[in-house]
């Protein structure tokens, strides 16, 4: 299991409150610690409309990277007249280096299941799915076991918690493509189709899984829902930044140590990096890669940037997969950016041409830089191309795929020059 980093005592825990349990699938122990209390209140005391209002008051935003207000999705799905609705919990965790979603699922499956059930009750969905990485067989098994136990105890099932409404939750293991982290792609996979994003609008809340209104949330978003119902929206808005309150999981990797930590939104990056421990003597931070393979490369003087959706976007990074990687001082930034850009290009699904061809051209351009053979027009071309790719983007992958290169050129321009100087440009064979 992934190590959970120790955070200062003043930082609240919402998502990992029950993470210390000896057996996370032990339903009785989880119930004693507060599990399914939120579902009980939702069904017995609040009812659907009041629950949605409560989530709206808490200003809970999606943790999947986009930061979209959760309650707006529920209201949008409720506004559509449809025979069926679905709730999908996205726990795929597309970034292989980030363990945030997986940690939550393995440490406290009941939080995600309860959150999914509350959302399903509020929007009137009878069927819900939790999508997870098929490679993590332990998590798939654990979730299935937890869902079975909750169903046997009557929290889920045809008459969930005496509500008279059917709430069934199922695990859907998916694998084989990075793009599955994108919500419309995930829905395609659940429908058994080629994983390519859909034009929005109509948003999935209007036409999603099997053309029915579908609420897709990251597992962290759903795991925060029971806590909000239990403790009230005011307690939630008091935590973290005012625009996107609450806590978020960060998967930290530093030369000193790595693990997953729950941090209040708006925490400065400096404090997050500190959680990994003291850097070994003589080592310095060269850059911080925030947001996974399509993340931004931030210089050490931006360590005071607040970790929330808007501030990171402004700095040229994004919350993304929740991964924060400290890049050591000996690293060749251009090469690292090359690996990231190539990753984003290979994993592109190929639906839109600017993404399919544009990201490839960017990868070639970084390749030329690495080899010290870049052309004088390359910097301008990269900026133009990147702007075009972003402007024509169909999905978030396309919108963010150029971020490593763009942030790298913005903050580490001298590195790009250095690598040109290191290997003087060779004249290419005329019949190249």
């Amino acid at each position: 299991m992934t190590k959970i980093l120790k955070t200062p005592a003043s930082w609240p825990t919402i998502l990992l409150g029950r993470a210390g349990a000896a057996d996370p699938t032990d339903l009785d122990a989880a119930v004693a610690a507060g599990a399914f209390d939120g579902l009980r209140r939702t069904i017995r005391d609040l009812g659907g409309a009041a629950t949605v209002a409560m989530i709206a008051a808490s200003k809970l935003r999606g943790r999947g990277g986009g930061g979209f207000p959760a309650a707006e999705k529920w209201q949008a799905a409720l506004a559509v007249d449809a025979p069926r609705r679905y709730v999908v919990a996205n726990g795929y965790g597309a970034d292989p280096a980030s363990r945030t979603d997986r940690t939550l699922l393995e440490r406290d499956p009941y939080a995600v299941i309860e959150g999914t059930a509350i959302a399903a009750y509020a929007v009137g969905a009878t069927e819900s799915f939790i999508a997870v990485r098929a490679e993590d067989t332990a998590i798939v098994g654990r979730l299935a076991e937890a869902i079975g136990a909750a169903t046997d105890a009557g929290f889920l099932g045809p008459d969930a918690h005496g509500s008279g409404q059917e709430i069934s939750v199922a695990v859907r293991p998916v694998q084989g493509a990075y793009m599955l982290g994108e919500e419309t792609v995930l829905l395609k996979a659940l429908e058994g189709k080629r994983g390519q994003p859909e034009q929005r609008p109509p948003h999935p809340t209007e036409r999603g899984l099997f053309d029915m209104p579908t609420v897709v949330h990251n597992v962290q978003t759903l795991a925060a829902v029971p806590w909000i119902i239990r403790e009230g929206p005011d307690a939630f808005t008091a935590i973290g930044s005012s625009r996107a309150p609450g806590t978020i999981l960060v998967s930290l990797r530093t030369p000193a140590g790595d693990g997953v930590a729950e941090v209040p939104t708006g925490t400065p990056l400096r404090d997050i990096v500190k959680l990994g421990g003291k850097l070994p003597a003589g080592r310095a931070i060269k850059a911080i890669l925030v947001g996974g393979p399509s993340g931004g490369m931030l210089p050490p003087d931006l360590l005071d940037t607040a970790y929330d959706f808007a501030s990171l976007r402004e700095a040229g990074a994004h919350v993304g997969s929740g991964s924060v990687v400290v890049v050591g001082d000996g690293t060749d930034i251009v090469e690292l950016i090359g690996v990231l850009t190539r990753f984003c290009s290979t994993e592109a699904c190929g639906k839109t041409i600017p993404c399919r061809i544009g990201t490839r051209r960017l990868a070639e351009l970084v390749g030329r830089r690495e080899a010290g053979r870049s052309r004088p027009t390359d910097a301008g071309d990269a900026a133009d191309l990147s702007a075009d790719i972003v402007a024509s983007a169909l999905c978030d992958h396309e919108r963010l795929a150029t971020l490593p290169l763009m942030s790298g050129m913005r903050y580490f321009g001298s590195e790009f020059d250095d690598s040109r100087r290191r290997q003087p440009a060779r004249t290419e064979a005329t019949h190249g």
Partner: protein, 225 residues
Amino acid sequence: MSLIPGLGLAKGMALTLRRFFEPKVTIMYPEERLDVTPKFRGRLQLLYDEWGTLKCETCFQCAQACPIECIDMGGMDTRGRYHVHWGAPETYGERREESALRRSGRPVPDPAYRPFGPIDLGALDRILEEHDHDPADLLPILEETQEAYGYLPVAALKRISHVTGAGYAMIYGTASYYGHLRFEPATAEDQARAVADHRPPEARYLAALGSALDGDGRSAKAARA
């Protein structure tokens, strides 16, 4: 008319000269090839109906519509009287002698074409039964089929299409998208990959991150290779 005689000519020659010394981007195609993206869907194939007859009825519309005339085709007319074809006669004549596959420069036939041969469909039928012949369950069906046969034989995909009613192109589109599904028996490399749990792009990315942590940029280069 410019004021200085010959200025236009000089300008033109200057441009020519400048271009002359710029690096060339053209590559010598058959000898030298750019990497084709793994998601490239370039496999054309003719489909058979459930009686094993070619579905293509030689209507020539595809060849007619092809803007760059890369499709040419020939066949007997419906009453078996004359040989008809569409496309430049010289290409057609050449193609009659040599198979299109060989002409494409591939040293061996694409193994994906081979499993047209019959396979024992019993295991597949049981899988389909379990999923209620529901095309919405396509991904689990494909995964279980691969588990049963070791790969996805073309005959199995055709059977799935026939039984579930989902189009073959859609099934092939789904199967070719996901990195863990394959159309050929697993090689030793595939097996090693299954153990490593990460698809090659993911492994390269993780290796680069690992070396960034160590601050040792050299291994990023190794990860790329």
